[in-house]
Amino acid sequence: MENFSNLMTGFSVALTTYHIAIMGAGVLLGILVGVLPGLGAPNGVSLLLPLTFTMDPISAIILLTSMYWGALFGGSTTSILFNIPGEPSSVATTFDGYPLARKGQATHALTLAFLSAGIGALFGVLVITGLSSWVAKFALKFSSPEYFAVYFLTFASFVGMGSASPFKTVVSMMLGFGFATVGMDTISGSLRLTYEIPDLIKGISFLIAVIGLFGIGELLLTMEEGLRFDGIRARVSPREVLKTIATLPRHWVTLLRSCLIGCWMGITPGGPTAASFMSYGLAKRFSRRGKEFGKGEPAGIVAPEAADHSAGTSAMLPMLALGIPGSATAAVMMGGLMIWGLTPGPMLFIERPDFVWGLIASMYIGNVVAVVLVLATVPLFASILRIPFSIIGPVIVVVCFIGAYTVNSGTFDLWLVLAFGLVGYVFKKLDYPIAPLVLAMVLGDKAEDAFRQSMIMARGSLAVFWSNGLVGTIMTIGVLLLLWPLLAAGISRVSGGFGRTPSIRLN
């Protein structure tokens, strides 16, 4: 109840014309930043940071967070329309979003993505409001073994997805781990796989790989197939938006599960990217229509989007309460807090309740503003698909390279994009799945660090992963999920259900 009255005070801070105007501006800027691949929320927010030096901290954080929401929404747009994720966390949205758009249902796909994203975000804020003190304490229980268990769970829930052969999946994942290894190693401090090339010291950015594999790879393929995008005849009408809204209740199980996964990953902090992958993997596994995933299944859009946004939102909590950022963007904002003269950490809630609760209230309003704004842009974005390929194709190439350049402002990355584009093309030609490579690149070094830290702590004993209830539970669930296909096959054989598919619903 105390939280509730605090929240009301927060609303009185956030609900001024000035702040609403800031939110609108932030969201629009964010959408723009999110749509451009590579530019992304962390870059966008750090570009905007200098502008906030002269603002008061509350207005400043409202501007930055609104931009973050906008970027998260914008990132999904290009995933769906062009198979080019604008944000790392929207990679999983491409799996079903793009096929659905190709079927001519771009409006449906976009609306569905934005709505589930909005619901995910609101769920995240609700969790922050209701459980802030409890959740902050819970996050403190996490150490390296727990982190590793969470990453392991993410990999486990994702294994076996897609129709590719297990061998090809493993090859793709191992390549991803290899790319993630390049650069300076946190644990030993030495350089790996850099071959004395100075540009490789910083490692290979995951964003560069995504832009190349998806953006350039997709374009190469399109060119080969005859210079046109399929599904150009996208129906663009506001009525389609309303119709999609009506279908949303059908996905309530997926929505709920994805929101929970998202909050969990945002707080622990596995981050929005891991959340969206895990959520997609689980949605596919526990859906009756698991076989339809990857071919334009609506639930395959709902799951990653809802998880992505609830993770992005709830990642703000560990930042405010503990001073650990749950995502790259949160890290940038934390830097902002310090420059504005605030110390992120447990005392912030006590010393500056107006700031904390003003921010939380602005998350409610900001996300509503964002959903309304992006829904209004759906017909506009969907009609982009009507532009002939000979015009939009080169534009995408330019945007991809500009995006790649902004990641590190280095020309070396442009060559990397090109190389990854070729890899993406070859992968698609030979029917190797790209997703495991991407997932391994995002989480590979984190999982490795967490594993090796655990080993140092435990002096090399694997028992550390079952040393307390928390880590033991996560690990066990992970192992079960990994073995699930085998288990499910065994169960259905024993129960005599030969004719049924081995996908069993958990709830």
């Binding site: 940071l49 200098p50 946190t186 910083k202 890290a331 310090m338 420059i339 590190n408 830290q453």
Partner: protein
């Protein structure tokens, strides 16, 4: 905007390049602040604080663009600086890793690829333990670490300032520590608050929030003198109530990390002078004082020969440790 500005800067460079670099040097296009840490890190806050001071006080006409190049413990930024030899529009912000990194890893730059502009502050190191830990003072702590199982200490990165300090303490006392490298001091702080490690050697700013909230507490500071007095932080303790490690009987007197600013080698002397002037003015503003106070650093502004001799002494001390631990690659 970042990229647009650097593109704009590049265009300007082509157009105005010929007229630049004349007597009484002054920047005629945006100046890039290259931060050798990720966004949100200590060096990032340092550089952006300077940026905001310059903007508020109109210390420079040319606009400032901050770029984060923190890959490879900051090596990315220094390599970038080295690759921009003679370009006075790249100001590189870092710590002592500018001259220490090349000792522990083979990187694509030499410390001499950059010229020192200023060292603006000294960040302190403290030994922190969890608030519930049984150690009353540094002596208790060292005694506990001498037991066969030793103690676990966390820190930021590997073979960097934190691990070097842990090795120094180890050599001075004969105690045994298991060092666990994390990505940042912030991570080490949270791990300590959650009692997953026994101690860390964080800078004041990295553990400030947790101390205030009573989750961790400091045992001693690695400085010749106690830190400057300030408001009470936790209970009736303020920064000046923390004993120095020397007082507590730990024979390590001084360990501090400079916040440094560099320019690529080969820039005109006038350009160095210009930025020394700007930074000298910046560190006299009330905003700088409040940054120093908030982050509990020591306000010590070094430039020119003073900075060079500081760097030399600091380097010698660290290299001894690197050699003893077998980290040195050259």
């Amino acid at each position: 905007m970042n990229s647009k500005m650097s593109i704009a800067a590049a265009v300007c460079a082509v157009i105005f390049g010929a007229t630049a670099a004349q007597a009484e040097w002054k920047p005629t296009k945006p100046v890039e602040f290259v931060v050798t840490s990720g966004a949100g890190g200590g060096t990032d806050t340092f550089a952006r604080t300077i940026q905001s001071i310059i903007a508020k006080n109109n210390l420079m006409e040319a606009p400032v663009v901050v770029v984060n190049k923190g890959g490879g413990s900051g090596a990315e930024g220094y390599v970038y600086g080295a690759g921009n030899a003679g370009n006075p529009y790249k100001l590189i912000f870092g710590t002592n890793n500018q001259y220490l990194l090349p000792y522990v890893a083979k990187l694509g730059y030499k410390p001499a690829d950059m010229v020192p502009v200023a060292s603006m502050a000294l960040d302190e190191f403290l030994i922190w333990v969890n608030a519930e830990a049984p150690y009353k003072d540094i002596k208790d702590f060292v005694d506990a670490a001498k037991k066969p199982e030793g103690l676990k200490m966390g820190g930021s990165q590997s073979k960097d300032t934190d691990q070097t300090l842990v090795s120094i303490v180890q050599n001075a006392t004969g105690a045994k520590f298991t060092y666990i490298p994390f990505k940042s001091g912030g991570e080490a702080a949270v791990q300590l608050a959650g009692a997953h490690i026994d101690a860390n050697v964080n800078n004041p700013n990295e553990n400030f929030g947790q101390w205030k909230a009573g989750m961790v507490r400091p045992l001693c500071v690695f400085s010749a003198n106690r830190m400057a007095a300030g408001a009470k932080v936790a209970g009736d303790m303020s920064w000046s109530d923390i004993p120095t490690c020397k007082e507590g009987g730990l024979n390590v007197e001084n360990y501090q990390m400079p916040r440094t600013v560099w320019l690529p080698a080969g820039v005109p002397d006038d350009a160095v002078k210009f930025f020394v002037d700007v930074l000298t003015k910046a560190q006299q503003t009330p905003e700088w004082k409040s940054y120093i106070e908030r982050t509990s650093q020591t306000d010590r502004f070094l430039t020119g020969d003073e900075m060079r001799s500081f760097v030399k002494a600091d380097e010698e001390k660290a290299v001894q440790v690197f050699k003893k631990e077998g980290w040195a690659v050259q």
